[in-house]
Symmetry: C2
DNA sequence: CGTACTTGACTGACTAGTCAGTCAACGATG
DNA sequence: CATCGTTGACTGACTAGTCAGTCAAGTACG
């Protein structure tokens, strides 16, 4: 029952953040979105910051759950990961946009918030390692050229992140498709597999 | 004299934004940093939003001034652009970091602010066109393979943006070097010039 | 003198957080 | 079986403080 309420608060906080933006977000906004009193929020989370740190953890957890496991074909899995990170997989594009907008808002707070920084670093390391592992396996199976897996993962993920930022901040969804094409056709198929 | 005061306010706003972050930034913070009263800020800028929109324009202008002009060698100029965008050129790395942190904070507001969105879109288009033009010239001179200049520019700039975000938000400066290497050695030298 | 610039004191709206108290559920006890 | 006490979840009213923005009054300067 408590867990259920906390979940309800998380979802309300997420929606309120998407609507108001981090800078304008108030506890009252969240309470309104949650159909409860501000006091309930403070009952479950001591401070506004605690609540938002919990939200970040919640969102990152939800995100990591969507990253698929190994399936044998390195090239196919790498392309699948790129698709997932760029377009959000089978999720609605608007939902994917809202999620990434919220994540960007939280990410932009990291330089001023140690707790945010730690959580993002942990998540980034996990995603980075996942991609690097696929590249490494591709090299082992002979499917990929002998590249530096870390560097390749950093390259792919940086490009994906950059495209998402551009999409979110200026609404350029052509950037998503362009970068997907560049990564799949040029980097993966045109350079990585062309051993 | 008016222009001088506005410039002083811009610099103070920039410093205050770097120190406090967008969400916590107050007009009093800016006034303190400027050694003036809040009222002076309101004399020159009607609202806080006006002031921050002006700051974004100011920062983008300063940034665009740093982008070098054509110099004949496409490969050299492309690498120079990558270096500039990743490491800030000849500027101090801390200064480059502060600048990009401030830009990220402002960028994260774009989804909720039309004026920010327009300015960022204009700037992005300009930078994008600059890089695409260099790629195009490289193709014309025979230095580069016959790629899609737009897509290549989007790819390069996205990766640079992504690396910067990672550097700024979780402090990973290895990401900067890794992505620089991937772009210069793999994308430019390993793929683009290898016609 | 008047125009451009700058200030300190002020205000009303809004903010995070507190606190006493309500209410339903539940177990114990006579 | 009835009633009492306890507990956890939750609320509405409140407070102390902060915020952007205003305004009358002043100064410097051409």
């Amino acid at each position: 029952m408590v867990e259920e309420t906390r979940e309800r608060i998380m979802e309300a906080t997420y929606r309120a953040l998407c609507e108001q933006g981090y800078a304008a977000l108030t506890m009252q906004d969240i309470a309104d979105e949650c159909d409860c009193s501000k006091s309930l929020l403070h009952y479950h989370f001591d401070t506004k910051e605690d609540l938002l740190v919990a939200l970040l953890a919640h969102l990152l957890e939800r995100f990591e759950d969507r990253v698929p496991v190994d399936d044998g074909d390195p090239r196919g899995q790498l392309v699948e990961l790129v698709e997932l990170f760029v377009f959000g997989g089978d999720r609605d594009l608007d939902e994917h946009r809202a999620f990434n907008t919220a994540m960007l808002e939280l990410r932009a707070q990291a330089p001023h918030n140690e707790a945010f920084r730690r959580q993002l670093a942990e998540n980034d390391a996990h995603v980075h390692a996942t991609v690097a592992a696929v590249v490494e396996r591709g090299i082992e199976t002979g499917a990929f050229r002998e590249v530096d897996p870390e560097r390749t993962a950093a390259h792919l993920l940086a490009a994906i992140q950059g495209a998402r930022i551009r999409w979110i901040t200026i609404g350029d969804d052509a950037a998503l498709r362009e970068v997907r094409e560049a990564l799949v056709s040029d980097v993966v198929d045109g350079w990585l597999v062309a051993g």
